[in-house]
Symmetry: C2
Subunit: 485 residues, 2 copies
Amino acid sequence: LKTINTNQPLKKSEFKPLAQALRVNLLQWQFRTSQKDRPVIIVIAGDDRSGRHDTIHTLLEWLDPRFIRVNAYGPSEQQDNNKPFFWRFWRDMPAAGNIGLYMREWTSSSINQYLNEEISEAKLGRRVDYIKRFEKALSDDGALIIKLWLHLSEEAHALRVESVKDTPFFDEKDELAYKNYNHAVSTIERVLEQTNAPHAPWHVINSDDPMQRDIIVGQIIEKQLSHWVEASKPIVPSTPPPSLVNTNILNSIDLNQAISKDDYETKLDQYREELRQLMSQAHLEKRAVVCVFEGVDAAGKGGAIRRLVSALDVGHYRIVPVAKPTEEEYRHHYLWRFWRNMPANGLLTIFDRSWYGRVLVERVEKFAGDHEWQRAYQEINDFEDQMVQHGIIVVKFWLHIDQDEQLQRFKAREKTPHKQHKITEEDYRNRDKWHEYREAIHDMISQTDTKRAPWTLISAQDKKFARIAVFKTLIDRLNSTLSDR
Amino acid sequence: LKTINTNQPLKKSEFKPLAQALRVNLLQWQFRTSQKDRPVIIVIAGDDRSGRHDTIHTLLEWLDPRFIRVNAYGPSEQQDNNKPFFWRFWRDMPAAGNIGLYMREWTSSSINQYLNEEISEAKLGRRVDYIKRFEKALSDDGALIIKLWLHLSEEAHALRVESVKDTPFFDEKDELAYKNYNHAVSTIERVLEQTNAPHAPWHVINSDDPMQRDIIVGQIIEKQLSHWVEASKPIVPSTPPPSLVNTNILNSIDLNQAISKDDYETKLDQYREELRQLMSQAHLEKRAVVCVFEGVDAAGKGGAIRRLVSALDVGHYRIVPVAKPTEEEYRHHYLWRFWRNMPANGLLTIFDRSWYGRVLVERVEKFAGDHEWQRAYQEINDFEDQMVQHGIIVVKFWLHIDQDEQLQRFKAREKTPHKQHKITEEDYRNRDKWHEYREAIHDMISQTDTKRAPWTLISAQDKKFARIAVFKTLIDRLNSTLSDR
């Protein structure tokens, strides 16, 4: 590993004035950071475990520790398989203006797990892919990512291990590279190279001399913070989705499909029972399920959801209605609030509207810039891919009705006392943008209809037909996914 | 158990029109509820387990389930002893305008634990006290609490048990009163009586006939919602704190205490090491610690906290700086955000300012009404009492300086580039209210200096003295509290 500092140790008399000057500057940059609309993520990683601790302590002395959150992931958090690997890092993501210090984070814990033979070569490779996309998504969104790797030379490493061997600080599993220094270093080198990127470069620092190490860490952070604070938010170029094919995907939905009342009631009873059993099985097998409901206004999402949950154990599901983000949500990456609501193993989360708002309402109403919604397709595919990889069953519904039917339903709502509040001026305004929405929906489906998390387009012109179709789709997916079926 | 309905079963032809009418009304009250600035808490409890499930399903069909959250606590959540018993209920508290449905909540799970001999008679008694204060605090704050107990007659109970006995739904531990109906009913009767209160009355409903039961549940909820929606927020009378004694408690602090630089450095090194060891021990013993830092502006809380944490493992503590509540926090009871930040066993949380804001800045600046801050002393004592009961060590610091010293520090801050941002117009405005603050501080200390969670008043006129005193206090508390010392 090539480090950026020399091996010339620092004298204490040299350290003091350097530290003093650094502290004043760092505090000022931290204050400026607190006024930015995006967060700072600092990764303190490395094969020098005690060095990581000491460096974080030094940083907390130099900076104002009250506005920094240290997120350290012990082996238990890493092994907690109840949620996807990245869930905990998203959960702890600092809000805009804050600094998050990460220890034993995504990269170093992946390396560590690999060296301890807890994950395979292939899984490490997949992790590297996710790490790259994770950091890119955060950086594209305007976050500053500073990654520091504290590296010990072979001699210093041997000495360090010797000095802690008989103390309670010795932890064989947690320490990187104890057994085979060269094997470890070559793995680290490879992973750092793969996860090195212009927006999230690695800084490898020789940790043999603690004072020199801390000064260099401080200087890097100072430099990065100052550049970032003074720069305006970069516009990240992204590829627009391919131009429309001649036929809009929505045209493929046969809006004439309907079901008789008798047929509906028979099927509803039958499907309810089937679903109840399948969901009990999913619960026992600790498989989580995510259902996404999107659709035209007044297509009947609420009614479909109500029927669906009537088949479920009340303790096993949660409905997350998605409206405009709260203040706290607004201070994070747009995917943050969906990561937060991820079901634990064995549970079901129903999203009534979802992350697809980014490429629908936010696109059409221009709440998101072109570059933001254009890159969102990839980010969303990555997000869903991570869920599926973890074992979550992802089922996405688009409920569709035509413009005439929508108008009739709006009118009917206005006449029904307990539905009046559901209809506002805005609903009519959205109708005027029908064609823009159609285009956005078409792009959304063509970009995110993946094999792992496919869309199901449902005609909701006949509400009963739509409800039955929702049941049927979910039942089929569970049947084909759960183990002994 | 006396129930409010008759045993006359309802015919299906009678049920339908009743349900139809109820649904329309409930939806309208739910909509009005969504515009209120306080939440609704509905408890569905009882000795009819399947009835609880069915009733919740019915309610979710009648109401809009997207704006209701069902919080069901399984045995594992009840037994999770990592946090105080009430922590999970606070965590899931609905925000203003929302409805939270609770199943297996504080009362019924306590009864259940007692009947299963998991908690003693004495502990059940303590729980009852906490339940009363918990519900009173929420209700005083304006929340609506509706508590429903679904009760089966002895014959219906026997039949119900028989019908599920060989199905997967049978769970001996979870079911109330299986073994000895009469013993169970008398316990239930006693606890319901004790936790019955004008602001949170129990409605006991005979559950033998499911249709009749659901109609009555719906009617009670309709009636309660309508009264609450139409009523203005009640002003809850509370006792003002006793009038001031002649001498303000703050006069007892000797502001001349100081420590020499040499002495400071020796002690700091020594205490740091002692604290490091004690906190490792606390971690191993799974004892959590809460430190509260309050004090006059510019008293040096930040510096004291920075020194303190330099002795700690970075993964074992968290600093929570308390500023004005966020939008989300504002939509909850003021204690909610502190419950959320409760440390898990083995960890330390440092609050830089705290819940005492309620009786300090909120009192003086009149953000809280008289009745609100006056009842807060009791609520705060209850809150801290629950932490201590759970095994959390609660240490509270008041750092004090006089008016002259404060002015000098303000001036010095203005001259130090990296401290300028710490000083604003507001700090000077607060100085003008020095005497009002003194009175509030005196009341706070005299009302909340309890044996279990005592205040330590520290002169911070000499910063070094204050920092050492903070270390010493915490070390002494740990020494006297941790097990084998």
